[in-house]
């Protein structure tokens, strides 16, 4: 059905990228005053901001953990981030992404240092052109570091996928819509541990290996950009 809509021509994609290229990236740390930490990340036409509050006391009290802190995420698409206005507030999809984001970030933070506390991470997608959970997580990871939360490493995310039977890196909107596989991952590039992994589409183990390889390479490039943004906050404050 989508086969006539050429997404790939002579190894080039609709926006001129090769199969292993990321979109143009932009990153910034410390963009908000009130939050304990904040970050911005853009990948092509997808951009998100994130704010971190805490570690702070968790309410209600019965949810507190005596031996460790917890990390909570809210992921939301702003109503104006998509073609037709989205109803405000997290959808079912948003709730799920909030949950997997908690899973992606929790293991990199030294939560055992903060018994009974919470670290709250809020992510808002400003404009969406596929890969929103990855871009939001990249902003969130910058915000956590900007807040001075002790971490084992930065979490960096990007998606691989399959279009016209070819594994490619970092799908944009049209590619995602007509593509065959979407594989967002997030990882700590220092330990090579993948902390977010979702996939939908039809594939097999061999092809997964290939797509994961692409996505891991992408995450490493994302990490460089995140580091650059964090380093810059020190230069500015000199």
């Amino acid at each position: 059905m989508s086969k006539d809509k050429k997404l790939l021509k002579d190894g080039k994609r609709i926006d001129g990228r090769g199969i292993g290229d990321l979109r143009e990236m932009e990153a910034e740390a410390g963009i908000f005053k009130r939050a304990d930490g904040s970050g911005y990340f853009r990948m092509g036409g997808t951009e998100a901001v994130a704010a971190v509050f805490g570690p702070r006391e968790l309410h209600p009290k019965h949810r507190q953990k005596p031996k460790r802190g917890i990390l909570q995420c809210r992921y939301n698409l702003t109503p104006f981030s998509v073609e037709d206005r989205k109803r405000p507030g997290p959808s079912r999809r948003g709730k799920e992404i909030g949950k997997v984001s908690e899973g992606a970030l929790s293991s990199t933070v030294f939560l055992e240092e903060f018994p009974t506390a919470t670290i709250d991470v809020y992510m808002e997608v400003i404009s969406a052109d596929a890969g929103t959970r990855c871009v939001a997580l990249n902003a969130a990871s910058i915000a956590l570091a900007d807040a001075g939360v002790p971490m084992r490493g930065l979490i960096s995310a990007c998606a691989a996928g399959k279009i016209e039977d070819t594994p490619v890196l970092d799908l944009k909107g049209e590619e995602d819509k007509d593509g065959q596989v979407d594989l967002p991952i997030a990882m700590n590039v220092d330990t090579d541990e993948i902390t977010l992994l979702q996939m939908d589409g039809m594939t097999d183990t061999e092809e997964m290996d290939e797509m994961l390889e692409l996505a891991i390479k992408g995450c490493k490039k994302v990490a460089e950009k995140q580091r650059e943004a964090l380093m810059k906050t020190f230069e500015d404050s000199r």
């Binding site: 899973g103 293991s107 330990t191 541990e193 992994l197 290996d209």
Partner: protein, 257 residues
């Protein structure tokens, strides 16, 4: 409150490190699994599934509604999960929380991405009326691995479901027409504990694992993945997990075929 104690968690962890489980199972063995279909008379398809002490019931209802604008000639699949207060002292009444939302969405994606349902055959009038296939998962007793039990219940209920008739704007439930599933997506969750893998984690085990991945295979294809909870996996570990899940999902598929 019947919370899990630290001693219990430690015992479960020690057992796994010695290559066994608290309930005597081998690391890569399921608990006793039972699947009964036709358990809800008013539903067009239903199944009750038990994995050890975990118990879920799934009902399929058909209804007629407006198609989505981007698929005017296709039926609609809806998957919903209720983690009601009956199933665990830690569940509360109210709209689905994050856990229930994740549960239903992972199962939804397994069914959708595998194109298990012939949604294009469920159009009544293009752009106007299509069949809605509504899969409702109710958790009755939570002793871990609700994901695999619910996914198995969903596909078992869909396999035995019949479509009612439809005439002059009325659904005729006494009529039963064939509804053929094309593929059988099966979810299998693999958990990592240190350098070992276990399948079908119990509630206590879910608390102590270093990470879980739910892998959904059809007969031939890998159609959905979801890393769940905290923790991380190296690429090579994931590849191993995909293959283990494939082998184990074949076992589950045999139960419902």
């Amino acid at each position: 409150m019947m919370d899990i104690t630290e001693i219990e968690e430690q015992a479960a962890l020690d057992k796994i490190k010695s290559g066994k489980r608290l309930d005597g199972r081998d690391l890569k063995k399921f608990r006793d699994i039972k699947v009964e279909t036709g358990v809800a008379k008013k539903a067009e398809g239903s199944a009750r599934v038990t994995f050890g002490d975990s118990k879920v019931i799934v009902g399929v209802k058909f209804g007629v509604g407006h198609p989505f604008p981007d698929t005017p000639d296709e039926g609609i699949l809806m998957v919903n999960a209720e983690l009601g207060p009956m199933a665990s002292p830690n569940f509360e009444s109210g709209p689905p929380g994050k856990e229930a939302t994740e549960l239903s969405r992972v199962i939804d994606r397994g069914l959708r991405e595998s194109e298990a349902l012939p949604l294009e055959d469920l159009c009544i009038e293009e752009g106007e009326e299509v069949w809605k296939v509504m899969v409702d998962i109710h958790i009755l007793d939570h002793d871990g691995n609700l994901m695999d039990a619910s996914a198995l219940g969903a596909i078992a209920a869909l396999m035995e479901a019949k479509i009612p008739g439809y005439e002059d704007g009325k659904v005729l439930r006494e009529e039963k027409h064939d509804f053929k599933i094309r593929r059988t997506p099966i979810a299998c969750t693999v958990a990592k504990v240190g350098d070992r893998y276990i399948i079908d984690p119990s509630l206590v085990e879910e608390e102590i694992v270093d990470g879980m991945v739910t892998v959904t295979w059809t007969e031939e294809e890998l159609c959905s993945l979801q890393k769940r909870g905290n923790g991380g996996f190296k690429k090579d570990e994931l590849i191993e997990i995909f293959e283990l899940a494939r082998e184990k999902s074949d076992e589950l598929r045999k139960i419902i075929e």
